[in-house]
Amino acid sequence: MYSVFTLRTASKYGQVRENSMIKMETIALLLLVTAAPAFAKPLRVITTTTDLASIAQEVGGDLVDAKSLTEGNTDLHFVMAQPNFIRLMNEADVYIEIGLDLEAGWTPYLLQQARNPNIQRGRKGYCVAVRGIKLLNVPVGEVNRSLGDMHVYGNPHYWVDPINGIIMARNIRDTLMANDPQHSDEYKKNFEAFSAKTRKLTAELLQLMKPHRGKRIYVYHQEFNYMANRFGLEIAGSIEEKMGVTPGPGWINTTVETIKKEKIKIVLCSPWTNVGVARRVAEESGARLLIMPVQTGTGENTATWLKMIETNVRLLAANL
């Protein structure tokens, strides 16, 4: 449009100048168009956990910049609602959470204050990763707080099952595609690569755990159920008498006796729980305590979600 207008008004002398200007502008325009993808801002993805950030980064590749509000080794039930989270959520194109009320104590206020219409529940920038996951420990009958910190929709620690990670990635892929449709093919490709990698590792780990199928373990908090379910282990009980409540001396003694009587060899806990109590139970019962880094970025060999899964399962297999 610009060139048509300038040509029409050009004089003979001016024609040469105008033409050279047109050429320069055309080149500049071409340069801009070709360079645009290099300057394109990646999609800003904010997640509540490091696991979600890791999976989102795998699915999004260079097209997204995924950040977690929390670090690894965080008690996700009790996170301080820091105002800087509001700032991060304000700038986010996509917001991803675990759901099932795991973050109920801190994210509703942050979402309300984020002043970002696109990431509110029901909008295209909001993603809850649980869709499609087969839930465990869904309570039956009347549920109230006398039972502890109950999750009424089911156990929210579902990301420790590698296959659930693929389902989470699929939900994330769909959200990324909805927000950045022109790169749908890349997201699909990245998802397929991630899925293939995860399935391959899962198949390997299943073989690794085959000799241990049916073995019984004790846990501190009910956060290993999905992993146990995947790899055929049985959770004989938990050190917490009620969900999220530190047990009293009476229950600890009962637990020690149970572990001894049933000859259970392994007690699992994660670093964010009450490791002291878990250690005491393990020592008094003669079981081995495994402190499992169940969140990405919690310790060595947990830099990515997939690495974290592999580290945990191999740790378990080596000690069962």
Binding site: E71, N73, T74, D75, F78, M80, A81, Q82, P83, N84, I86, R87, G99, G105, W106, T107, Y109, L110, Q112, R115, P117, G122, R123, K124, C127, V128, V130, R131, G132, I133, L135, R145, Y153, G154, I163, I167, R170, N171, A178, S195, A203, E204, L205, L206, Q207, L208, T246, P271, W272, N274, L289, L290, M292, G299, E300, T311, R314, L315, A318, N319
Partner: protein, 430 residues
């Protein structure tokens, strides 16, 4: 007990408490670092599984593919897909508001009354009982309503406490809240008594905001806030309220020449995960009578430094400073200033220990006998211990020393408090 002995005990206790907090916090941080290393397991990790049978892997892969494919389109209990492919939460309570009931029960006792009489009621009573509803009004607005019963002047008064709606999805980083509310001036005014870390009322807050029950000042109007597009959290807020009354009242007051105006700015600086500093400043302007020249100004600044490790441990230092300036057409002005600062330390999951220092001064007092000017200074200290079985129930034991200006002298009081919450409770702000 001798008065000076009590004073010494309080001051020495406070110093010892500060020292203990510092030492234990360092120890706690070291312990935390140690615990955060899963590599410190007494168990050993396995080696690569090179010897896995490949023929079994193919079958397993096929099973996994089937399982993943089967989950596509399956809806978990909490979610479903809309026609546009977006995800929305459709829980069974989608049309039900969240319901709150919070009860604040207090027993108070004068250990030593001031010169003018009893400091407390020397009884056990329900200081406040609140119930309310919170939820989404529709796709655009959230709303809440809260009723409260307070003990005032020997009886219980039941009233509408707060009723407001807000828009969380306004463009250009704005947020609007309209209705009856505790305006966002300083820190304490928006925190209900049952949610505060201490039982007693800081002198500056009681004198400048609510001389009746010490909860705070309520008004009807609106607050518009804006989140600045800066690398750190920085929020600017402006509020306009009726200003017909100020403080805790149960009447509609009288029409004033101008509404109550509020300005607030706050910033947050993260230091580490679960550790940050918030700093805010506030300004209030309102007419105290129908006369346009009778104006009160309040200038405040507040601070919160907080560290928290899940439910296991926390440490916070917080305080507010206020300067109250009066303009009067006919009567004498009485400017005031004061602050409170507290620290609370949670060394174990269920126990919290705290100390608060109060200071309050009237700046324009004149000795009627000598005609000389003097500052009426009140100060005080509070020590408390809190035991919580969860975030919904706690009991607290508090000892307070109040040192008033020359006329009233010194007083010592004890409080025992129990707070319990039924149902929902909104997330706590930083």
């Amino acid at each position: 007990m001798n008065q000076s002995v009590l004073t010494t005990l309080f001051s020495r206790g406070a110093y010892a408490f500060f020292l203990l907090c510092a030492v234990t916090l360092f120890a706690q941080a070291k312990l935390e670092k140690k615990q955060a290393k899963p590599a410190a397991n007494n168990a050993t990790a396995g080696t690569a599984s090179a010897d896995i049978a490949d023929e079994n892997t193919a079958d397993t892969m096929a099973d996994l593919d089937k399982e993943i494919a089967g989950s596509d389109g399956v809806q978990s209990a909490q979610t479903q897909m809309t026609q546009q492919g977006q995800q929305i939460v459709t829980v069974d309570r989608s049309s039900m508001p969240n319901i709150l009931a919070a009860i604040d029960m207090v027993a108070d006792k004068d250990v030593k009354a001031s010169k003018t009489g009893d400091e407390t009621s020397n009884s056990m009573f329900i200081r406040s009982a609140e119930f309310g509803f919170f939820g989404a009004i529709d796709w655009f607005a959230n709303g809440m309503i809260l009723f409260a019963m307070h003990r005032e002047a020997g009886g219980y008064v039941f009233a509408l406490h707060e009723a407001s709606f807000e828009f969380p999805s306004l463009p250009w980083n704005f947020h609007l809240k309209i209705g009856r509310m505790f305006p966002d001036a300083g820190r304490l005014n928006t925190i209900h008594q049952h949610d505060r870390v201490f039982t007693g009322i800081p002198r500056v807050h009681g004198q400048l905001f609510d001389t009746v029950i010490g909860e705070g000042f309520l008004d009807t109007g609106g607050e518009l806030s804006w989140l600045a597009p800066l690398p750190f959290f920085s929020e600017f807020k402006a509020g306009v309220f009726n200003g017909r009354t100020f403080g805790h009242t149960h009447n509609d007051g009288v029409a004033k020449a101008a509404p109550l105006l509020l300005g607030r700015q706050k910033n947050f600086f993260p230091i580490a995960q679960g550790f940050g500093l918030q700093w805010g400043t506030s300004y209030l302007r309102y007419n105290v009578t129908r006369d346009a020249g009778d104006v009160d100004h309040k200038f405040g600044t507040d601070l919160m430094l907080k560290w928290q490790r899940g439910r296991w441990a926390s440490f916070e230092i917080s305080g507010e400073f206020w300067y109250h300036k009066e303009e009067r057409v006919l009567t004498r002005v009485e400017d005031k200033t004061g602050f409170y600062i507290y620290l609370q330390w949670q060394p174990f999951e269920r126990w919290k220990f705290g100390y608060r220092r109060d200071f309050f001064s009237r700046l324009n007092l004149v000795n009627v006998v000598t005609g000389t000017k003097y500052n009426g200074v009140d100060h005080g200290d509070a020590l408390w211990v809190t035991y919580s079985t969860s975030e919904f129930f706690n009991v607290k034991l508090t000892g307070e020393r109040h040192q008033y200006d020359l006329v009233l002298g010194e007083a010592y009081v004890m409080y025992a408090q129990a707070v319990y919450v039924l149902g929902f409770h909104p997330a706590h702000r930083f």
